[in-house]
């Protein structure tokens, strides 16, 4: 992976009157990387996206885009960014071709390159057949694709996508996700979403934001490793008292799921499954089932976002 830094955000904060939408966020985006921005509704995702793309001036802090300060030289910096806001910014009265041509031109592309860029963007987003149709007559999914095509038309270094798969059907979602993966190979992509599988499938790095603060930040690899095999479901041939089960090696807690089924939570995750299996067999409890469970991103997400809920919740002004 190329380690060229595309975005460097420092001490970003944004207030709306007395509410603090985003509070002192710091992060970096490298080329060839997809960063998932995760958070519940109103956590400040959209506000952060708007600040990175120059749609909103931060109250404090700075954003550097490809080494250019976004606040001091907005024109030069914005040329490196493609942005798809929450609602695709499409002119419904134009055709897809007209609209994409307009987008290419306002991104200061030369006239001779425009039609090639339009064709390329249409092809990548699966819009080749609808070039002549009015955007207003297209389905929501296609409008969303037009929105993505608009963001990539000038092949910017950074692509910021705010909830790109909202309102799409499962097939379209799959297509868009593979498109995002593809884009992530040569560009830097920031993906904001509250859909967890999306992050798991597409992103290299996860940032979880809650009440305007960055509460978790790690690579997807570490995340999966860290939580792999930390719990397991067992099924036994007979009812065993709970205190006997919790006496098994490395078991931190036991949760009864159904008659003869329990979920075990381990306090360390090295080879515990083997030892537990051996112990159960040695005890002659009649092991019928043993399924190691991966603590999913969802659990982590819920852990992080629901803890300290009383902590001053900042509302996100999505406008």
């Amino acid at each position: 992976m190329n380690q060229e830094i595309l975005i460097k955000a420092q001490h970003l904060s944004r207030h709306f009157g007395p509410t603090v939408a985003v509070n002192n966020i710091e992060f970096e985006l490298h080329r060839g990387e997809i960063v998932g921005f995760l958070g519940p509704n109103g956590a400040g995702k959209s506000t952060s996206m708007q600040m990175i793309t120059g749609n909103l001036a931060p109250t404090t802090g700075s954003v550097e885009v490809c080494g250019i300060d976004l606040l001091e030289k907005p024109k030069q910096a914005k040329a490196h960014i493609g942005y798809l806001p929450e609602q695709p910014p499409v002119y419904k009265e134009l055709t897809v071709d007209e609209y994409l041509k307009f987008c290419a031109r306002i991104n200061r592309m030369d006239k001779i390159n425009v039609s090639a860029a339009v064709d390329n963007a249409k092809q990548r987003c699966g819009l080749t057949k609808v070039g002549q149709r009015l955007i207003g007559n297209l389905s929501k999914g296609y409008q969303q694709r037009v929105g993505i095509a608009q963001a990539i038309i000038h092949s910017p270094a950074i692509i910021v996508l705010d909830e790109p798969t909202v309102g799409l059907d499962p097939i379209q979602i799959r297509e868009i996700r593979s498109l995002i993966r593809e884009l992530g190979e040569e560009h830097g992509v920031i993906l904001s979403t509250h859909i967890l599988p999306e992050v798991q499938m597409t992103c290299d790095r996860v940032q979880i934001i809650r009440s305007g603060q960055l509460v978790y930040q790690d690579s997807m690899e570490n995340l999966t490793q860290q939580f792999h095999g930390s719990c397991a479901v067992i099924g036994l041939g007979e009812e065993i008292a709970e205190d006997k089960i919790s006496a098994l090696p490395a078991v931190a807690s036991v949760e009864r799921l159904a008659p003869k089924r329990w979920r075990l939570l381990f306090d360390d995750n090295t080879d515990t499954i083997q030892q537990v299996a051996k112990q159960i067999v040695d005890n002659g409890w009649g092991l019928t089932e043993l399924v190691p469970e991966q603590k999913s991103l969802e659990d982590i997400f819920l852990d992080i976002t629901t803890s300290e809920e009383e902590h001053s919740p900042a509302e996100d002004d999505a406008a």
Binding site: L56, F102, I106
Partner: protein, 250 residues
């Protein structure tokens, strides 16, 4: 960049029925006005031409009233032409597209304003066919014709700048149209304020129509030209500041 935005604006305007309807209806009204002007001239002025020392020409009698009426009609229709310029972008959340692109707010506003001026120009060209048709029957005073056209164009340009500003305030086109209509109407009727002496400032001096009078009497006055340019730049600057303030901390 500016012209790309202007072209898009012009195109979208003519893709909606509003512009076509307004231009068509105005054309019908102006045709009636010109027609009655001709009738009046033929019935009451032509038979008595020998009685005048300097006989009134058809440009003064027929063409100038047509442009004066056009100016009055513009009070009503220019807010309808400008109301959606920024309101629609706000309502449909398309403003983010322009703001995220490497263009400044000034370029966006001027681009859109040029699109509006192009509409005004197209309207004036279609309405000028009427006076030109009089060339079949007589001669026109082209100096007076052009200064009238210029005067009305400046008035339209000022109305468009006012409308553009109000459109930048709200996501609701109706409110933007109402506000610009009231301000344009107010600034028009100020012409009826009488002043004690021409040297003293009176409210009539800020009337949009007061400054049209020189142009429709055939006088090209830089004083009046400056008035319109100041009004236009003031409202454009206000619009730029308004849109910039969306981004900034309040």
């Amino acid at each position: 960049m500016i012209f790309t935005i202007a072209a898009r604006e012009l195109r979208s305007t003519f893709l909606s029925p509003i512009a076509w309807t307004l231009i068509g209806v105005t054309q019908i009204i102006l045709t009636f006005i010109t027609g009655s002007g001709i009738e009046n001239y033929v019935r009451s002025i032509q038979p008595n031409l020998h009685m005048y020392l300097t006989p009134p020409n058809i440009t003064e009698q027929i063409v100038v009233p047509q442009y004066m009426w056009l100016a009055i009609i513009m009070i009503v229709i220019s807010p309808l032409l400008t109301m959606r310029v920024f309101s629609d972008e706000r309502k449909n959340k398309t403003l983010a597209l322009l703001v995220s692109a490497p263009i400044s707010m000034t370029e966006i506003v001027i681009g859109k304003y040029l699109g509006l001026l192009a509409i005004a120009g197209i309207m004036l060209v279609t309405y000028t066919i009427l006076p030109l048709s009089l060339l079949f029957f007589g001669e026109l005073d082209f100096g007076l014709l052009f200064s009238s056209i210029l005067g009305v164009f400046l008035l339209m340009a000022a109305c468009m700048a006012i409308g553009l500003f109000f459109s930048s305030l709200t996501a609701n086109p109706l409110i933007s149209a109402m506000l610009s209509f009231f301000l344009i109407l107010l600034m028009s009727i100020l012409i009826f304020v009488t002043s004690e002496s021409p040297d003293v400032f009176s409210l009539a001096d800020i009337s949009l129509f007061q400054h049209l009078m020189a142009f429709v009497s055939g006088l090209f006055s830089t004083h009046d030209l400056m008035y319109y340019l100041i009004i236009i730049s003031a409202f454009l600057i206000l619009a730029i500041r308004r849109l910039d303030s969306d981004r900034l901390q309040h």
